[in-house]
């Protein structure tokens, strides 16, 4: 008997449901990351390098997996595998934030800053592609480029990450200026909240920035084994990466859009419904839908 014809791109799939989640309200912080420590999750930190010996990082850094990219004199991107130093402290700071939230996560340094001022976007893109090709489930980008001629290559790379299962977390520009790839729907763009609790983040109803994390007056590890205090969206993004690592540690099969939904549901202003008018409206609407039993749509 002939198989029934199906529309293009379709195939039969089994109904899937997240375990323990019957209603949207069941997506709580307890469900999402309680008792998780990030174990089993690899995080790529595309930045200025990581000081793997910094005491704040413990043994979280997979130093042998480190890789660096820079643009050579001939204009071509050069890849160098193996351990390296942090040129500015910025990558170590991001690693320290993620480690403080998800101490079991394995961190890999993808160094794209620090080897000359020319060709930064090309090295940056090469580092992002490397992380995607190597299947990192979480990729932290606390940097960006404003050059329009790089917009399409970054868009293509981030779409590939999204479909391939890599959750890309980017820092938004500190003022409302374009910065690629933080403008894309396939990434999760983060800015600062005034809250100082590292686990307390907010959903932003006005994209492209979708979440607000702790990024003001943050104590972070820095060069030469030291700590400094610093401020900026650069430090808000790794807070979301760290929490995402916890969630994936407990629920490793989540796709990027599901992970983003879990973050939305567990954001402080959505849970508390009312801090931001739009969040409250959406939460109430979702509650109405779930009460009618339409959880599958």
């Amino acid at each position: 008997m002939a198989e029934p014809r199906r529309p293009a791109w379709t195939k039969d799939v089994n109904a899937l449901q997240l375990p323990g989640v019957d209603r949207i309200e069941d997506l709580t912080p307890e469900w999402a990351w309680e008792s998780a420590d990030g174990s089993g999750v690899r995080v790529a930190i595309i930045d200025s390098g990581i000081d793997a010996d910094h005491p704040d990082l413990g043994i979280s850094v997979d130093r042998d997996a480190a890789v660096a990219f820079h643009v050579g004199a001939d204009g071509k991107v050069v890849e160098t595998a193996g351990p390296h130093q942090d040129s500015f402290g910025h990558g170590t700071a991001c690693a320290g934030i993620i480690h403080s939230l998800a101490p079991g996560a394995r961190l890999t340094s993808v160094k794209v800053l620090g080897e000359g001022l020319q060709g930064k976007a090309a090295a940056f893109l090469a580092g992002l592609k490397w992380a995607i090709d190597n299947g990192f489930p979480i990729i932290n980008l606390s940097l960006g480029t404003r050059r329009r001629d790089w917009a399409l290559p970054f868009h293509e790379a981030c779409d590939r990450a999204y479909f391939g299962g890599s959750f890309v977390v980017t820092a938004a520009n500190n003022v409302q200026r374009r910065s690629y790839p933080s403008l894309y729907a396939s990434v999760t763009s983060v800015a600062c909240t005034t809250d100082s609790d590292p686990f307390r983040f907010q959903w932003n109803p006005n994209p492209p920035t979708e979440f607000l994390g702790h990024g003001i007056d943050v104590e972070v590890p820095w060069l030469d084994g030291q700590r400094i205090r610093t401020t900026g969206n650069s430090y808000a993004a790794p807070h979301i990466s760290g929490i995402a690592a916890l969630v994936l540690s407990k629920h490793p099969d989540l796709r990027p859009y599901q992970l983003k939904t879990v973050l939305w549901a567990t954001a402080a202003n959505v849970r508390e419904a009312g801090d931001i008018e739009a969040a409250g409206k959406l939460t109430r609407r979702m509650q109405g839908v779930t009460r009618q039993g339409h959880t599958g749509r």
């Binding site: 000359g116 960006g144 007056d217």
Partner: protein
């Protein structure tokens, strides 16, 4: 290569120092793989700091590389900003923002001494917006090295500043727009 010069850059540094209550500030221009001080205010003999060449390191280097502004409050043992902007010694805190739109052409940086209040997120936003005007100036160097933003470019940047602080910038933006409209 002739260093750029302009009262616009001087005024931008003065404004950045004033708005953040910093003790000193400077504009660094990227030349090859170095940063060069092209305008300075505050500190000891700011005029003598102009022309100093600084390696791409510290907070200014990070901002030149990353294109993202940064505010660093460091303990005395952190030496990453020693000599920033040609200053003697080690500032207690620095705030730097990139100059330029498509490409980072330079960095606007301010420093605060020990005992003063740390930089705030509002300070970052203010300096970032001022750095945009510095970028407009650096983007339009003429043959003599004068760094003067074009009127449309300046108007666009001031309009954005006015959205954040109307009392300070809105009237200036409107005046420039009026001048452009008459042209």
């Amino acid at each position: 290569m002739t260093l750029p010069h302009s009262r616009v850059l001087d005024e931008i540094v003065d404004a950045a120092v004033e708005v953040t209550a910093a003790s000193a500030g400077w504009v660094l221009m990227i030349q090859g793989n170095e940063l060069v001080v092209v305008a300075a205010a505050g500190g000891k003999s700011p005029g003598s700091r102009v022309g100093q060449r600084i390696p791409v390191s510290g907070t200014a280097g990070l901002v030149a590389m990353s294109g993202h502004p940064a505010a660093i409050e460091s303990p005395p043992s952190d030496t990453s900003n020693v000599g920033a902007g040609g200053l003697d010694g080690n500032p207690a805190g620095v705030l730097a923002a990139p100059c330029g739109d498509e490409d980072v052409l330079g960095v606007l940086e301010v420093a605060r001494p020990e005992g003063s209040a740390p930089f705030t997120f509002d300070d970052i936003e203010e300096v970032t917006l001022l750095a945009r005007i510095a970028g407009a100036a650096l983007d339009e160097l003429d043959d003599s090295g004068a760094a003067v933003p074009s009127a449309p470019h300046l108007s666009a940047e001031l309009t954005e500043l006015a959205e954040r602080n109307p009392a300070r910038y809105a009237a200036i933006a409107r005046m420039i727009d009026a001048v452009l409209g008459q042209g």
